[in-house]
């Protein structure tokens, strides 16, 4: 079988930029979580955290360079988890 995908080589610079973005987002998360009122900190935690996870998945875990079917598989797995969480919150909010 001929090799369909040689590993995509990502430059050092790209990785360092992603790492810097992750560090900055962590800083923002801490500031939002510790210094401000809950009305601001909760939405910040709920947006910045998935964004950080997304950066790791997309760049460090190479999803950006993967074929669509692997991305699709990840989407289905995370989608399933999101459905579980949504059903849980629906259940909790109508109790």
């Amino acid at each position: 079988m001929t090799e369909p995908t040689s590993e995509h080589v990502v430059s050092y610079g790209t990785y360092v930029r992603v790492w810097m973005a992750l560090v900055v987002l962590t800083g923002l998360l801490v500031v939002a979580g510790r210094l401000y009122h809950e009305s601001l900190s909760v939405p910040a935690l709920l947006t910045i955290t998935p964004l950080k996870a997304g950066l790791v998945l997309y760049f460090f875990m190479h999803l950006r360079y993967e074929r669509p079917y692997i991305r699709g598989m990840v989407f289905v797995a995370l989608g399933t988890l999101t459905v579980f969480l949504s059903v849980l919150f629906l259940d909790l909010s109508f109790r």
Partner: protein, 206 residues
């Protein structure tokens, strides 16, 4: 020796299948921790005040420091693959060794954090903990379970990456056939992703 090398050339390898297998394993890990996140959310919504107070008793500085350590270890892990692809084997070994060391520093920090809690009489089923309100008992139960399970994953990751470092150093993982290292890297990055979620849940949402 020559026979072995000749034989190796004919071994059928399917990188795509290896990668799919790794991702399927990672999905089981995501759902394992996902289930615990769901448990956490359910109890947090039932005992918001107790969880809030529980979070205030954790040192967020150590949580943030450990986050920076794991993020940096992810960087060294990812760049080791670039080094390997560019046939800079020494640099790849150096970056992988750094990754393993950062993982070890993470565990040392975690053990300090846990021992301080133990010192204060807070550990699963401790008399001090059982005297507290139900939500706090649940908070610390989840804290020890989730960070402990995560810690076990870090230990496993360190073990796997140590073997990979050895294989790279010995020229058994190469730019032409990096799939073992790629998959080990995926595992390490997932450990990082899980910690990214644990940080706000336990240390920042207080």
């Amino acid at each position: 020796m020559t026979e072995g090398a000749e034989h190796a050339e004919h071994v059928h390898k399917d990188r795509e299948a290896a990668k799919i297998g790794m991702w399927l394993f990672l999905f089981t890990e995501m759902l394992l921790f996902g289930g615990l996140f769901i448990l956490y959310s359910a109890y947090r919504s039932r005992y918001p005040g107790d969880f809030h107070r529980g979070g205030q008793q954790l040192d967020y500085v150590i949580g943030v420091v450990n986050t920076l350590i794991l993020l940096t270890s992810s960087l060294t892990m990812a760049t080791s693959l670039t080094a390997l692809a560019q046939r800079q084997r020494r640099r790849a070994v150096f970056l992988l060794t750094t990754t393993v060391l950062l993982g070890a520093v993470f565990l040392v920090n975690k053990s300090f954090e846990w021992s301080v809690k133990f010192h204060h009489g807070i550990y699963p089923s401790s008399p001090e903990l059982l005297a507290r309100p139900p939500g706090e008992i649940l908070f610390f139960g989840l804290y020890f379970t989730m960070t402990g399970l995560h810690g076990l994953h870090v230990v496993a990751g360190i073990a796997v990456l140590s073997v990979m470092t050895f294989l790279v150093a010995r020229g058994r993982i190469t730019a032409a056939d990096p799939v073992k290292l790629v998959n080990a890297g995926l595992y390490w990055h997932l450990i990082d992703v899980i910690w990214i979620f644990l940080l706000p849940l336990f240390y920042l949402a207080a």
